[in-house]
Amino acid sequence: MNAVKQFVRNPMGVVGAGMLLVVILIALLAPWLAPYDPQVRVQVTPDDILAPPDAEHLLGRDDAGKDVLSQLIYGARVSLIVGFTASFMSMFIGTTVGLVAGFYGGRVGNWLMRLVDFLMVIPDLPLMLVIIAVTGRGLTNIILVIGLLGWTYTARLVRSQVLSVKERQFVLRARSLGASAPRIILRHIFPQVVPLVIAQAVLDISVAILAESSLAFLGLGDPTLISWGMMLNFAFERAISRQAWWFLLPPGLAIVWVSLSLILIGNTLDQIVNPRLRTHHLFDARRMVALAVGVPPLAKADGAGE
C-alpha cells in the first residue's frame, strides 16, 4: 500500500487520475450526457451544415449537420475501448515474451529478442496502415493491429528486469528446493515485474489511443463508429475552409486531454516502481558499499524500501 500512498502524494499523478476519471465517467454516462444520439442521421438543410455553436448545439454542428458535442462524448468510448484492450494485449504478450526470454535466455531468449528488434525497427504507423487496408476497418482489427504491434517495449523492459531478478538468492533458493521453471517464473519472478508492467501499460494506453486516432484521421477507422480521429478526418477535409473551429478543435483537445492524463499517471507510476528511477524494494541501499562510503543520507531520503 506504500505505492498507493506515494501516488496520492504526487500531484502529477493525482491530476492525471482525475483527468482520466472524468473521461471514463463521460464514456460510461454517454447516453445520459449526450444531448443527441450521434448515430442517428438527421434530415438537414444547407444552413445546418457546419452551423456554429448556439444554445441547442453547444459545440455547433458538423458537416453532416450532427451535434458535435454528442459525437465528442460518444467518441470517448471508442478511444478508451481501443486504448485499454490494445494495451492489455500488448501487456500480456510483452510480459510473456519478456519473462520467457529473460528467464531461459540462451537461444530462445536470443531469438525472441531478435524478433522484438525486428518489430521495433519497422515504423508502426505505416505498417498499421498497410495491415488495416488489407484486413478491413473493423474495430476488432484496429485493436488487434495496435495490440499486436505495441508489445515490444514492454518485452524489453520485462526481460531486463527478469535478467536481474533471476540472479537473486531467493530464486536460487526456490530452485534448490526443486521448484519447476514455470513455478519460479509465475510465483517468484512475475510478482517482481508486475509494477513495472503496469506503469508501462498505462503509457501504452495513450500510445494506443493516439494510434487509433491517427488511423481514423487517415481515413482507416471503423466507419460505423464515431471516434475523435474520425471527427478530425471529416473536419480536415470539409471544415477548415469554412473556418469551423468548433468541429476541428474539440476532438483534437480531447485527444490531448486523455493522452496527457495517461502520461501523467504512467510517469508517476514509473517513478514509484522503476528501479532505474528508484532503488528497488528488494535492494537495501544501506548495504551497498558505494552508497555507504559516499553518500549515506541518500539511503534515508530514499523511502522506497520496505
Binding site: R41, P46, G65, S206, L210, T224, A235, F236, E237, I263
Partner: protein, 564 residues
C-alpha cells in the same frame, strides 16, 4: 524518464494539433522547376535610356497555376481518361467543342457532306505544325485517324466506328467515307479524336503504344505543349509559339496536385494558385467572400449515380436483379439529402442518365420518384420480401437476408453520401453498410463484377451517344466503359438504330425511349446533375469564356488574359 515524459507530451500535442497541416503540406513545384528560369533582376522601367546598348529584356512570363486534386493518370492520350480539359489544351481535333452545345472549326476550316451522308470532305487548315516542328497537313490527319482505327485505340476508336476510309486528297483536303450515315458527326465523333503526330507514334506495336510515356506522348498541335509532369505533384505546360491561332496570351500553365480540397482553397485565397478546376461545395462560401476571387457556378455535363450491379455473371445477390427491389430502392434513395450533404446544395435531383444541361436530349417526360420509404416498404412487402426473422432486415424467398455491399471512393463527401444511402435503404429493411476504398481497389473489382452497389460519377459528351454507349454489352469487357454490367437486347437494338439515324427529331425520340428503358431497368440510380464550380483570381486574370461550363476548356480558356 523525465525526458521521456516531455517527449511523450510533445509528440502527443504535435500529433493531435498539427497532424492535419503536416499531412496537408504540398510539394512546392516552383522551387524546383522555375529555378532555371532566372528572372531579370533589373526593373524594366529603368531600361529606356540604355535600350540601345542592352538586349531587350524579356517580359516576365505570365504563369497561371491551376489547383486540382488529381492531374491525370498518364501522359499517354490513347488510354488516359482524366482531365480532358488539360489534354484538350495540348491536342487539336478536326472539329472543336466550344460552348456546351456548339461546335467550332478546329483543324478543319470547313466541311461538306454528300447527299447520302456517307462522304464527308474537310478543308484542312494550312500552316499547322506539331509541337516537334513536323507539319500537320491532311496527310498526317488521315494517318492519325487511320492509325486510331487500325490499332483500336480505346479512348477514341469508338467515335470512329463507322469510318470506312480516310484519305488525304491533297494537303488541304481530307475525305472520310462512312459505312453507314451517322447523325452526330460534328457533335460527337470528332470532338475527342485528337490528331497525333506520326513522327512520334508511327511504327509502334499496340503494346508499345499502350506503354508509351513521357513528354513526347504530349505532342500535338494545340496551344500548349507539355514540358514536364511529375506524377502526383505537378505538370507544366508552355505556350506553343506556332499555334495556328497565334501564341496564347498566358505563357505557362502549371497544374498542381493537392491532397485535400481545403488546402487547395487556402492556396487560392493566398494567391499561390490562380484557378481551382473543381471547387467542392463546402469551399464556395469562403471563396465567395474573398474580393479577389471569382466563383463560377456552371451547368455541367457531370452526373453522379449509384451503380447497381446488373451483370448476369456478377456476384450480386439474386434479389438485387429483381426490378421491384430496384424500384423500392429508388423510393429509398434520398436525393435531396444527398445533394445537401454531399454537394452542399449545388446540384439538381436527377432522373435519367442525360443531364438537363443537354437540353432536348434530356427526357423531360420522366418524372422524379421522390423519397418515400413507406412506398418502398409496400413494394417490397408486395413482392414477397419479408422480414421473417424480425431482425430488421428483409429476406428473399430462399431466406437470404437482403444485405448489399455499398462502395465508393475514399473521400469525406462520399462517406457522407454513403451514410445517406445506407440510412435510406435501412428504412426499407435493406442492410448496406458503407465502405469507402481507394480508386484502385474499386477498379480492381471490375473484371469479376464483384460488387453490389457503387457510388460513382461520369462526365458526358455533349452528344448523348456516349452516355448510351456506356450501357452496351460489348463495353463490359475489361477496359470498357460499362460499369454496371447492363446488357439488354432492346436497348442494344435502339442504340444501333440511333447511331445511323440522321434525322435529329427521330434520333431524339429514340434517345428518349432509351432513357426510359434505363430508368425502368435501373442499372443506375442517377443521384444528381451537379454544378461544375470553379474559382479563379479575378485580380490576375480576366476574360475567360463562360459558355463551356469549364473555363479551362480550350475554347473558353484561350479567351482569357492576364491583368497587367
Amino acid at each position: 524518464m523525465k525526458t521521456n515524459l516531455w517527449r511523450f507530451l510533445v509528440v502527443c500535442v504535435v500529433l493531435a494539433l498539427t497532424a492535419p497541416s503536416l499531412i496537408g503540406c504540398q510539394p512546392q513545384p516552383e522551387t524546383t522547376t522555375e529555378a532555371p528560369q532566372v528572372q531579370p533582376t533589373e526593373a524594366p522601367a529603368a531600361e529606356p535610356t540604355l535600350a540601345g546598348a542592352e538586349p531587350p529584356t524579356e517580359p516576365e512570363p505570365v504563369t497561371l497555376h491551376v489547383g486540382t486534386t488529381y492531374i491525370w493518370d498518364t501522359a499517354n492520350p490513347t488510354f488516359g481518361w482524366y482531365n480532358y480539359n488539360l489534354r484538350n489544351l495540348i491536342y487539336d481535333t478536326l472539329i472543336e467543342w466550344g460552348d456546351i452545345d456548339t461546335f467550332e472549326p478546329d483543324l478543319a476550316e470547313s466541311w461538306t457532306v454528300s447527299d447520302d451522308g456517307l462522304v464527308w470532305t474537310f478543308k484542312i487548315r494550312e500552316g499547322v505544325t506539331f509541337h516537334d516542328g513536323t507539319p500537320c497537313t491532311a496527310e498526317e490527319i488521315a494517318w492519325s485517324l487511320n492509325w486510331t482505327i487500325e490499332n483500336e485505340i480505346e479512348t477514341f476508336s469508338f467515335y470512329l466506328a463507322n469510318f470506312a476510309e480516310v484519305v488525304a486528297l491533297d494537303p488541304t483536303t481530307l475525305q472520310v467515307t462512312l459505312s453507314d450515315p451517322v447523325g452526330n458527326m460534328e457533335s460527337a465523333l470528332l470532338l475527342f479524336t485528337w490528331i497525333l503526330p506520326p513522327s512520334v507514334w508511327d511504327g509502334m506495336s499496340y503494346d508499345e503504344i499502350m506503354e508509351f510515356e513521357g513528354v513526347a506522348a504530349g505532342i500535338g498541335t494545340g496551344p500548349y505543349k507539355l514540358v514536364e509532369w511529375v506524377e502526383g505533384e505537378y505538370l507544366i505546360l508552355e505556350a506553343f509559339e506556332d499555334y495556328w491561332r497565334g501564341r496564347p496570351a498566358i505563357d505557362r500553365v502549371v497544374y498542381r496536385e493537392f491532397a485535400t480540397d481545403d488546402v487547395m482553397i487556402q492556396a487560392l485565397l493566398a494567391g499561390d494558385i490562380d484557378v481551382i478546376d473543381m471547387v467542392p461545395g463546402p469551399g464556395v462560401q469562403s471563396l465567395e467572400s474573398a474580393d479577389t476571387v471569382e466563383v463560377l457556378i456552371m451547368d455541367s455535363l457531370f452526373i453522379d449515380e449509384l451503380i447497381i450491379n446488373s451483370h448476369e455473371n456478377g456476384t450480386q445477390p439474386a434479389s438485387l436483379n429483381d426490378p421491384q427491389v430496384r424500384l423500392a430502392m429508388e423510393y429509398a434513395f434520398d436525393r435531396g439529402q444527398i445533394i445537401t450533404l454531399g454537394y452542399l446544395g449545388y446540384g439538381e435531383p436527377a432522373t435519367t442518365v442525360l443531364p438537363t444541361s443537354m437540353g432536348d436530349w434530356h427526357n423531360s417526360d420522366i418524372k422524379p420518384i421522390l423519397f418515400d420509404p413507406v412506398e418502398g416498404n409496400r413494394i417490397l412487402d408486395e413482392a414477397g420480401y419479408l422480414d421473417t426473422d424480425r431482425d430488421g432486415i428483409r429476406e428473399d424467398g430462399e431466406g437470404n437476408p437482403m444485405e448489399y455491399r455499398l462502395y465508393a471512393t475514399d473521400s469525406a463527401s462520399n462517406a457522407r453520401i454513403l451514410e445517406v444511402i445506407s440510412d435510406g435503404l435501412s428504412q426499407i429493411g435493406i442492410s448496406a453498410p458503407p465502405t469507402v476504398m481507394n480508386e484502385d481497389s474499386l477498379i480492381g473489382l471490375y473484371p469479376d463484377f464483384d460488387f453490389d452497389l457503387i457510388y460513382w460519377g461520369w462526365g458526358l459528351d455533349p452528344d448523348p451517344d456516349f452516355a448510351m454507349f456506356i450501357f452496351t454489352c460489348d463495353q463490359r469487357e475489361e477496359g470498357g466503359w460499362n460499369d454496371s454490367g447492363y446488357c439488354n437486347e432492346d436497348f442494344e437494338r435502339m442504340y444501333e438504330e440511333q447511331a445511323v439515324t440522321v434525322d435529329q427529331e427521330e434520333r431524339r425520340e429514340l434517345i428518349w425511349e432509351m432513357q426510359q428503358k434505363l430508368f425502368d431497368d435501373r442499372p443506375y440510380l442517377v443521384s444528381t446533375y451537379y454544378d461544375n464550380i470553379q474559382a479563379y483570381r479575378s485580380d490576375r486574370f480576366t476574360g475567360f469564356g463562360l459558355g463551356c461550363g469549364d473555363i479551362l476548356w480550350k475554347w473558353c480558356f484561350l479567351q482569357g488574359s492576364p491583368i497587367e
